[in-house]
């Protein structure tokens, strides 16, 4: 059992507010690991801390056994962390292929241009965007942007892919495609950590589920375990539902 990502005692204060307050978890290789919780629970902040966009107030982050707590986002990317954002952030002045190429070229050091282009195309293919490769990213629909978000992260060849609500807003059919996509990605050997609101998706995908509320871990376990947990129901549905 190898923990591919291990987070210990993660804390982040914004001013006086503890957005993330002592979060610890470990993700095993080839798992699909879900982080759920109400809005404002600190899920996205946790991903920002893991991917290096924020500097933690305290805590330790290890990827494949090496400590990356002090590393820059780029170094963490090279260490094997990929990240897709909740608020889709394509580079609008570039085509889709170029967007993905950024990840392919820089995500893994020392790659040749030809190799990177091949991987970029593969990532586009996997994400179902191959036909749109030469479209400018500013011309995309939300759906396509979300796929692009995944493709770009995949092109960096991550060991762990951090997905932040990439399925939000998808129609049921699309969500099914997306679930299949995530499974395909996992089957290609990538460990996945994702934040999700749509519970059926979590149910279909997650091997483990971490529930957060108010910056703290409420419970961690299988989907079945956590959905039975009274604290989770309270966090989600409010007290009256429990009562």
């Amino acid at each position: 059992m190898s923990d591919i990502l291990r987070v210990t005692g993660l804390v982040k204060h914004f001013g006086g507010l503890a957005a993330v307050d002592g979060v610890s978890f470990a993700v095993e290789a080839n798992q699909i690991f879900a982080i759920i919780g109400p809005n404002g629970a600190g899920k996205t902040t946790t991903l920002d801390l893991v991917s290096g966009l924020l500097t933690p107030t305290a805590g330790r982050i290890e990827v494949l056994g090496s400590d990356v707590s002090a590393a820059t986002p780029a170094q963490r990317c090279h260490a094997g962390l990929g990240r897709a954002f909740q608020v889709v952030q394509p580079f609008p002045e570039m085509t889709l292929r170029e967007n993905v190429l950024v990840g392919a070229l820089f995500g893994t050091p020392g790659r040749t241009r030809a190799d990177a282009e091949r991987r970029a195309d593969a990532a586009l293919e996997l994400s179902g965007l191959a036909a749109l490769a030469d479209v400018d990213a500013e011309d995309l629909t939300l759906m396509q942007e979300k796929r692009l978000e995944i493709a770009r992260a995949l092109a960096t060849e991550p060991s762990v892919l951090l997905l932040d609500e990439v399925m939000a807003g998808l129609r049921p059919a699309e969500a099914r495609d997306a679930v299949a996509l995530v499974k395909r990605v996992r089957d290609s050997g990538v460990t996945i950590v994702f934040i999700e609101h749509v519970m059926p998706v979590v149910r279909d995908l997650a091997d483990r589920v971490l529930v957060m509320d108010h910056g703290k871990v409420v419970v961690e376990g299988s989907y079945a375990e956590v959905t039975q947990d009274a604290r989770v129901i309270e966090a989600y549905l409010g007290k009256e539902e429990v009562a």
Partner: protein
């Protein structure tokens, strides 16, 4: 979904327009002096000087643009220029360093300053970055001004020997031909420097750096998450952006025969470095050059027609250009071509 997305025509095999353009530019400048001489005779002397000034502006503008591609809007280009000019002048004065070494060393001095400045300003964005670089440039100007007179001449500045003295090349020819030879020599030096700058710009645009620079400019955080190292690449852009301007400062110090704090570190150098690429078209190799040639022509044309107030016309051109071609000359022309392309494709 895909039905609603307009798929642009698939990309044809990349024709290396940029490299062909560089070769054409090189060929054009190689023959330009002789062509001017054949066409205009004596007048070619002053046309060459005007052209050299336009080349100078092109180098300045293109260098600025290279840095701007990473989203860093520098107001320190006068300092790069001045650092190069003074270094070259100091080496010539105190160490008799041959100019062919002194000028690259001027470029190196600019790079050293740029790296220090770049490292200090890594965290600054937008106008904060701009004002910090402006401040650094003003401080460097003051430092140079206050170096002991015996070293850098203080407020009186220093003489700088000219690169091409007519004594060396004057034979039994007419005076204007001697002047032509000198101007031609300078023109070639500037043209070489421009070709080097263009080559650097093209190499950036053709390599993975283009994507990295654009990514950093658009969203530095996302770029970082995708493995781009913003700090390192921003410093690289600083190097590329300063080296040719520093050399330009060195060459120009020789051409005009002196360095003076006010002259070598003039804020107007910085302003021109910024204005020209915006006018021509940002983040391209062609834009800044088109901008430099365009603005030089506009100014020269206006001053030949109106002895008074010609700069009013220049200002009007700038204002109109922003209102009617917000993406610069190159953006406007590019847009027109694309629209025509689409119309034809639609038929």
């Amino acid at each position: 979904m895909s039905a609603s997305t307009r798929t642009r025509r698939t990309r044809p095999a990349q024709f290396p327009w940029d490299l062909v353009g560089l070769v054409l530019l090189a060929v054009a400048v190689a023959f330009a002096p002789d062509l001017l001489k054949a066409l205009f005779g004596r007048a070619s002397v002053s046309y060459l000087s005007i052209a050299t000034n336009a080349l100078s502006l092109s180098i300045l503008a293109l260098s600025w643009d290279v840095l701007a591609r990473t989203g860093q809007l520098s107001l320190a280009h006068a300092a790069f220029y001045g650092a190069g000019a003074y270094t070259t002048a100091l080496l010539a004065r105190h160490a008799d360093v041959p100019l062919w070494i002194g000028i690259p060393l001027g470029g190196l001095a600019a790079v050293v300053f740029a790296l220090l400045l770049g490292a200090a300003t890594l965290r600054l964005r937008g106008i904060y970055f701009a004002i910090a670089t402006l401040s650094a440039a003003e401080v460097l100007k003051a430092v140079v001004h206050h170096l002991p007179t015996g070293i850098a001449g203080g407020n009186a500045g220093m003489n700088v020997p000219t690169l091409f003295r007519p004594e060396f090349i004057a034979g039994q020819m007419e005076r204007w031909e001697v002047a032509f030879l000198r101007n031609e020599a300078y023109f070639y030096v500037y043209a070489t420097l421009l070709c080097m700058t263009v080559l650097a710009s093209i190499l950036v645009q053709r390599s993975r750096l283009k994507h990295a620079f654009t990514a950093i400019r658009t969203n530095e955080e996302v770029a970082g998450v995708m493995g781009v190292r913003p700090a390192r690449l921003k410093l690289l852009a600083f190097v590329l952006s300063s080296v040719f301007v520093g050399m330009l400062g060195g060459v120009e110090a020789h051409r005009v025969g002196s360095v003076l704090p006010e002259q070598s570190f003039s804020v107007s150098t910085t302003v021109l470095a910024l204005v020209t690429p915006i006018f021509g078209g940002l983040y391209t190799t062609l834009g800044p050059i088109v901008g430099a040639l365009g603005l030089s022509s506009v100014q020269e044309g206006l001053r030949r027609v109106f002895s008074d107030g010609y700069l009013i016309g220049y200002g009007v051109v700038l204002v109109l250009s922003i209102l009617f071609m917000p993406r610069g000359v190159v953006g406007l022309v590019g847009g027109l071509l694309r629209r025509r392309g689409k119309r034809e494709a639609g038929r």
